[in-house]
Amino acid sequence: MVKAPDTLERADNSQGVRCRMVAASLSGKAVGQPVMRVDGIAKVTGRALYAGDVDLPDLLSGRCLRSPHPSARIVSINVGKAKALPGVRSVLTGADVPDTCYGRMCKDIPVLAKGVVRFVGEKVAAVAADTVEIAEAALELIDVEYAELPAVFSAEEAMRPTAPIIHPEAVEFVPGAAASIHGELSMYPPIPNVISRLRVRHGDAASALASAHKIFEHSFAVPSVHQGYIEPHTCLVAIGRDGLVDVWVANKGPHIARTHMAAAIGVQENRIRFNPVAIGGDFGGKGSLMDTLVCYYLARAAGRPVRMVMNSFEELTAGNPRHSASITLRTAVDPDARLLAIDARVIFNAGAYGGFVPVPTLHGGYGELAGAYRVPNCAIEVLRVYTNTVPCGHMRAPGAPQVTFAVESHIDMIAHALGLDPVEMRRRNAIAEGDLTPLGEKRRHLRCRETIDAGARAFGWDKPKSPGIGRGMSTYEHPPGNFGLSTVALTIGIDGRITLTLGSPDTGTGFHTIAAQLVAEHFAVSVDEVEIAQGDTLSSGFEAGASGQRLTTTIGQAIAAAADRMKQDLAALAAERLNCAPSDIGIGADGSFSAPGAMIDRRTLMGWAAERGKAPLTCQGENTPGRHSDRTSFVAHFAEVAVDRETGQVRLRRIVTAHDVGTVVNPITHQGQIEGGLIQAVGQAMSEQIVLKDGAVITAHLGDYKLPTAMDIAELETILLPGGGGTAPFSTTAIGEMSNVALPAAITNAVFDAVGVRLVELPISAEKVLEGLRAQASAA
């Protein structure tokens, strides 16, 4: 059923958040409906089980002693006094754990520091005790003697020939993870401290730059930020009498994490069970094992289960924040301001360990660089570099926010330099049907210009504005992920109800609700008749987990495959009972089965199945992994700011965000992704930054690390372009990594529009703007 164009207006807060849905969305019984979260009531009533809620008999608390030095040799560790403290059950140092290092691709993270520490916050010793307080008191009794070593904090300095080498020994890595990368990849090339160097080329950028009408070169810097999830990293490990290792951990991909843990501790995968827990926000930050390995060794040494919860200080100083980056772009244009070539150099500061990400380098560092534009020649070099700082991980569209800030500022700077309206500059260069991406990939359904136009219209780009007011825009392209295996099981019971068993937690995005809606749609039942069972890693099929906007596509395919099988099995059952051929069986819109002259509802059918010992009936389904969907999506953001010339203060007044979408499965969770992503981006544009001093994170609490509050958010309007074209079942695309990437550049572009000050480093601060205004005044 296709509904008429729908207008959905709501006022969520005093700032007036509005969503204008101009899409005519496919809307069946379940898909397209604003269904309430299936986990909503459990979460708001406190019934949802998070890793920190799990309680077991004899449970101990584990805590870690962390390095105060960014680079030092451990001369000695004395744990005698800590071990003697009553209530302490086990104390471990690097000497007590195997030499095996852990990593999602690069195996470089020791369980506990062995001989050297490489960043402030590195785990040096661990204690399990009856209470957290005793464990913390024990940490204070551990004496560590360090001999400080030279340290390096910036990626550029770390690559110099004289820089201290942070990992002198060869680091083992999983070559498979590198295989999917296109371009020329060198792991651990002969450049000091470089983990990976990727060179991707399409066309001949060098020649195009050499002969171009005009060339523009600009450099940008984006700091590290924290994912900002509410639930800290938490894990609990219990080793059963039969040796089965039970794990409860805040991890977005339990099956893969289980495999990594098995390799690290030398226990077979099927003797480790990751149990289902709710996740209190992930944003890419919960893909690693974090403290799980040390927790396992503490539990083994103590002979009792151990729980570890990172506190907010540890999260902010020693989590796995987003990589900071420095980016230089050189672009050639023709006399009509058309982009001829881009040459990009991107340097990611990985911190002390590379193992927190499952890839050689961050996909967003090159994968969608300038993807919204037709750029016939492109050359990108991406370096990922060790430094003596907090190791970095993934965060929502890894690499893309950093690179997109650069690209979208750069395009704006070129437009202004050429005297061209920034919207016109982008429209003129927007990728369109038939064009290849800058990396030479074929994509379809290229609605870049339409998305920009829809946003510009709603925003009133051409309307007059007062002095001190600035307007800016930015755009971004990103297809849904279609990689990694997803396996699900559908079970229909004698009562006709359907259970979906899957291995992916709902990291907070609302995915379990989406999954329930997809199942319901296949069987034409209401979502209430579908139950979601998050299986443990022994009882659920393999699931690669949430990443790269993949779940709705990959689990959607797995659900479709399982639903097809189940319908076939049910039809065969019905045919047998009705004495007809399975091909005579039809399936009605209400989910009932019909044969010539007969109708059977699911419950009756399952009654028959039960008589034959075939109820409950379970069918598996899998996706067919590829890379990315070729149906990509675009977003265009428009921001309006007011700049105070006397103080440099930037006030964000208004945001319009336009999205080119497929079928919207659930308008509530869809809008939640858009608004949540934008608010995250406002923080990263205006206030968030992990600040280092001598290599140590000094923004160590939420008073100094400034996540935006409701008061910092501007009026927000969402425009959804009519959907369609999605490659996933029901023509869905993806939304999770669309709204958080490009907004900061729209805001800095608006600041430039307001007062002529160009910010090439995030975050925006009033002081930086004032410095720019003063520089302007003294130049005049």
Binding site: T647, P708, M711
Partner: protein, 264 residues
């Protein structure tokens, strides 16, 4: 958080007796600073003496030409008080922009000034309005109350019971807030009371202070332009990840001029 004893004081005298006898005991008013400090294990008091049950510490009243605010009066009550709004609207407005709604519904004026956080809003008003801090022992002039970073004139068994604000002819507060927290990076309170001009500056230095050059200039001419040629030296001002001392010095002037304009 370390363990501590909790005691709800029945009266000011009762609370004073406990803190006089036990130097490790701490008073808790709204707890907006103390509780996070405890949670981070940055303080280890033997006992918390809760002032929340003492009715006489709450409330706002007009006494002659002054507004007297009980120490345990919450920011939200000052912000919404008809007496404060009509007599010293600048003070009500200041209270309405402290932190966020959660802070305003818990935090108290007595707690704020006794803590003397360098970025708190209230101290600027106390100094600029030349308020009198009333304790269980004495009356302390604003100029004598705030001593240094997190330090006041309060003795070991001394408790703020109220603050008396003389009603000014003109007053206004302008704050340059930190994002998210709304603490003052710089907050400037200007007031003209009985012909005297006072300018209280918070957020900029280790402790609230008066900008005396501005006071003299405004005393001669109550006009923002009177401050145009004045500047504050950055030496000794706070410099941190939120703002440099030079930027804070600049903001003092801007906020003062704007406050004068706002006061009318």
């Amino acid at each position: 958080m370390y363990d501590f004893k909790y005691q709800k004081a029945a009266s000011v005298a009762d609370a004073a007796k406990v803190i006089g006898a036990d130097g490790e005991a701490k008073l808790v008013a709204g707890g907006m600073t103390l509780i996070p400090t405890l949670k981070q294990r940055l303080a280890k008091p033997s006992a918390l003496i809760d002032l929340g049950g003492i009715a006489e510490l709450k409330g706002i009243r007009r006494e002659g030409n002054a507004i007297v605010i009980g120490a345990m009066t919450k920011h939200v009550d000052v912000a919404n008080s008809p007496e404060v709004k009509s007599a010293i609207p600048a003070l009500a407005e200041l209270a309405s922009h402290i932190g966020d709604p959660a802070v305003r519904n818990r935090g108290t004026i007595g707690g704020s000034i006794a803590n003397n956080d360098p970025a708190a809003d209230y101290p600027s008003a106390v100094v600029a309005l030349n308020a009198t801090v009333i304790t269980n022992k004495r009356k302390i002039a604003a100029d004598d109350f705030f001593k240094a970073l997190f330090e006041t004139a309060l003795g070991s068994d001394e408790i703020v019971t109220a603050v008396s604000f003389p009603i000014p002819e003109k007053a206004a507060y302008m704050k340059f807030p930190n994002p998210a927290s709304r603490y003052a990076i710089v907050g400037t309170f200007v007031a003209k009371t009985g012909g005297n001009v006072r300018v209280g500056v918070t957020g900029a230095g280790p402790c609230v202070f008066r900008w005396k050059e501005a006071e003299a200039a405004l005393g001669k001419s109550w006009n923002g332009d009177a401050l145009k040629n004045l500047s504050v030296k950055a030496d000794g001002l706070n410099s941190d990840i939120h703002a440099s001392s030079e930027y804070r010095a600049h903001l003092i002037g801007v906020m003062a001029r704007r406050a004068v304009a706002k006061a009318g």
